[in-house]
Symmetry: C3
């Protein structure tokens, strides 16, 4: 679990750095956007759950990995290179799966009920991305017509379904991670969108 | 009071859904914007007052009513219909009155003094609307030249004036609600703006 | 220290009012933006540190000085006057120095370690400015290619270097304030930018 979490933090840090570079932020601006992208979701989750001290204040590894990965990316990578975009989508899908699972588990530990756990799982990954996009003055992509929140919610429901069936912990976790990641990757690959549920397009209210 | 609060939540949820629909967010994106519009104001109020656990984590009715109203609106209403805009303004005025009153009362229960109570009353309704507009990449309308914050502040001052005069609780509450709602509706109807207080327009500093 | 803090609050309040005026917000909208610019940084710092009750709820001087300075500026100053821009830059540099120092000292009192103290010092001044710019739908200038965060970090490192050397408290504080302020003013005067650290501009990843 620890390595998964670190990888999720790393992926969010890179996504923040790439967007900040595109907006011409300077070195420390990029590091700050990377930190915001990576830790503001879990921070919002912890503040909502009244869970203190915050995880990144106790364990310095989080801030260290964000700083190193952001500086490293800025030094050695060209954000306009061909491979970056595909790699980012892959990282993003992994971060979505990892953060959702961690959010659900933390909320469960704090005694929250099932809908709140799923909501905090979604918040755990979404909040950082939304703030990152707002900082860069863009409409948050994750809220638009992409299977992003949807994948997280399906994974969350599956998690509690498997728990209800008494499945072993590691199988439950792997299934949730895999399901979220595969749905997200398929959505990106085949450009899936969630259908509009409006029934009254042709009529006025 | 419970029904008033539920109605306020419902009104904010619809306003969030309408704006998110205009921005082409998908079903879950709209639900999330509705949740943010409806509960982030009271959540900010509770975090500032250190009042835990948060109200929507204890009582699931809040999230339920937001989800149902957002999905229902998306299914059965056309946000571009003629009636929607007028209805929204009405709902918005009611939500302004209800949330301001609730914010004031919660802050008062927590032992805050009068200016803080009024500020938290304003924050209670404003924060959700501001975050909703920021998410959709628009300048928050409520901060611009409309009698919105002004109505809430007048209502708050009236509330404490009536309290100082020893008026019965339900009369005090009804007067506050009515005053805020009527001022806001008149401002919308007659396009009132707060006058500019600058005295030095023609001169340099 | 108290007067320094009040001056920092005053400077942030003026900067919020000027930006809000440019965006045509009304009187109360300007006051709210001024409050957000001045107290949301320290509020975020206190929420992250779980330090309750919040400073502006205990001591009403903060909100009072913000309201008076914002209303006074709106009444007596013309934000388009020639002198305002230079004055703002000066105030902004002073606020940067003061808020960074206060943020570091508060975090230190709460027992945070050195990197967290510096991060909270930066957050203390940055958060208000970022939210202010986001409210007004602009890309936060402070994150772009200006020596702003950089000056705060240099000041923070100097603070702990002097502390490690056992320097008296008031010398340590004055040196930190002066260093941040001078670096920022020189950066504004000579249009310094932090160099790009990318090594791979010409190559793909």
């Amino acid at each position: 679990m620890f390595w998964l979490e670190m990888f999720g933090i790393f992926a969010c840090s890179i996504s923040g750095t790439v967007l900040a570079k595109h907006k011409n932020f300077d070195v420390f601006g990029c590091i700050l956007v990377a930190m915001i992208a990576a830790i503001s979701g879990p921070t919002a989750r912890d503040i909502i759950l009244d869970r203190y001290p915050l995880f990144w204040m106790v364990n310095m590894n989080y801030l260290l990995i964000i700083t190193i990965s952001s500086v490293g990316f800025q030094m050695f990578c060209n954000p306009k290179a061909r491979h970056v975009d595909g790699l980012l989508k892959l990282f993003d899908g992994l971060a979505l799966a990892i953060f959702t699972l961690i959010g659900i588990q933390v909320a469960q530990e704090m005694g929250a009920n099932i809908p709140i756990c799923i909501l905090l799982g979604v918040l755990n990954i979404l909040f950082g991305g939304v703030i990152r996009d707002m900082l860069c003055n863009e409409i948050p992509l994750v809220l638009q017509r992409e299977i992003y929140v949807t994948a997280a919610i399906i994974g969350g429901v599956l998690y509690f379904a498997l728990e209800g069936m008494g499945v072993t912990s590691w199988i439950k976790e792997s299934c949730t991670l895999m399901t979220i990641f595969v749905i997200r990757m398929l959505a990106v690959r085949y450009d899936w969108h969630f259908p509009d549920i409006g029934l009254m397009k042709k009529h006025s209210l």
